[in-house]
Symmetry: C2
Subunit: 227 residues, 2 copies
DNA sequence: GTAAGAATGTCAAGTATTTTATATTTGAGG
DNA sequence: CCTCAAATATAAAATACTTGACATTCTTAC
């Protein structure tokens, strides 16, 4: 599953220069979670800005019927919890650790002081948040606009960009289905279709992309380039 | 249509105190657009932060087949164009004026200086952007999770909160359909169903909600509270 | 008041997607 | 190398949604 991590966006920590990054990290409270551990639940009210030092965090919600919808996956360098701070809203999603995960948590007071004292921090936060907003809007636009098999192709292309292996993506069909809000059956049908077009090859827990450039061209022809 | 404006979120200008607001507005270039005039198109690259002084702006995209998808409507006090500044991305949507619309446009240099000099401005921008991100994520979550008639009810409830009239919402069924990405026929069916449940009454270019509290209770029972 | 345009109501056919169920394939561990 | 659990493949019925067409109702302007 490591390949799903980080897809899209810019990690906050990568936007900070070394001294500032050091200052910010040292101001945070250390937290550690084991693989799969719950970090917070939807509705929790405790505010704070969390920075992912190591590992990754999965955000999603479990519906009444036990169905899971995944909203995003963030890897090392990313932050989360801005809404609890700046918008005063409760946690919107369940968050759980993927792999051994280490966080630094900044209190609202500390964040407020950092913003006042360090314009670069405010600027980096704005860049990260804005980029995420843009991605979220594009995602929901795609959700309505694109046929599901094109959307699936776009997801694969996007995961490929942040994958370790440049020629395949490690994900189960059910993971992809959760990410796009489709049923596993429908995702299977989409992937079969893409395989039929020669864009991908299906494996067990893995999608192979032999010719990433060809996939990009195909996506562009279907009005769905990957940012 | 005025009722659709502003629904959700916090206008940036409402988060600033008077002197700061004055300083920011005076730094901007004045722009005026007639009703329906195009402000920018998807793909435009010119960066700038726009503040809506008067009127409103509609964001959306026209598909190849001439179908319109509406992404959002922002009224006076809101800002847009953050992505062109902070994320360096091109305009994602077509924007056009609703009614006689006046803007102030801030250049990237001016915004950068304001962020450095005025922590309150950075803070307000973060609040507004974060809130918008939260709303966008919730919207796309709802899009996948909720049956369309519940989503329609949620939209109506949300519009009701920012409507002039506390007991009705001025919008055509086709506007609601565009907002939720449904066909007019399907939206009609959803509304009929809600009318059957006694939650709303249908009018000509208007939806009546006699008992807003009852609508809220019904929404909560369907796992869809309005923030 | 009436005509014209705008918005809604309704129907039918076609497509997309979900749900449920069962069968098959794959990889990992003993 | 064999078994078991996980993942994928496939099929059928049911539901949701779209498209296109046409009828009806409502509002506004004259």
């Amino acid at each position: 599953m490591a390949d799903l991590i980080d897809f899209g966006g810019w990690p906050l920590l990568s936007l900070l220069d070394a001294p500032l990054k050091e200052k910010i990290l040292s101001a945070g409270r250390r937290l550690a979670f084991a693989d799969g551990a719950l970090i917070h639940s939807r509705g929790d009210a405790s505010p704070g800005l969390s920075l992912i030092i190591e590992g990754a965090v999965r955000f999603g919600l479990i519906g009444e019927a036990g169905d899971y919808i995944e909203m995003s996956l963030l890897g090392a360098g990313h932050c989360f919890g801005e809404a609890t701070l700046f918008a005063g809203l409760p946690r919107a999603y369940d968050a759980s650790a993927i792999g051994e995960t280490h966080l630094r948590e900044l209190s609202p007071q500390i964040v407020a002081r950092l913003i006042d004292d360090e314009p670069d921090f405010a600027h980096a936060l704005l860049r990260a948040t804005t980029r995420r907003l843009y991605d979220a809007l594009e995602f929901s636009h795609d959700l309505r606009r694109l046929p599901s098999y094109v959307h699936a192709a776009k997801l694969i292309a996007s995961m490929l960009k942040s994958a370790g292996d440049p020629n395949s993506v490690a994900a189960r069909q059910s993971d992809l289905a959760d990410t796009l809000g489709l049923s596993r059956v429908q995702m299977g049908a989409c992937l079969k279709r893409l395989e039929g077009e020669g864009l991908i090859r299906l494996g067990y827990g893995r999608i192979h992309v032999d010719d990433a450039a060809r996939l990009s061209v195909w996506l562009a022809a279907h009005d769905a380039t990957v940012a």
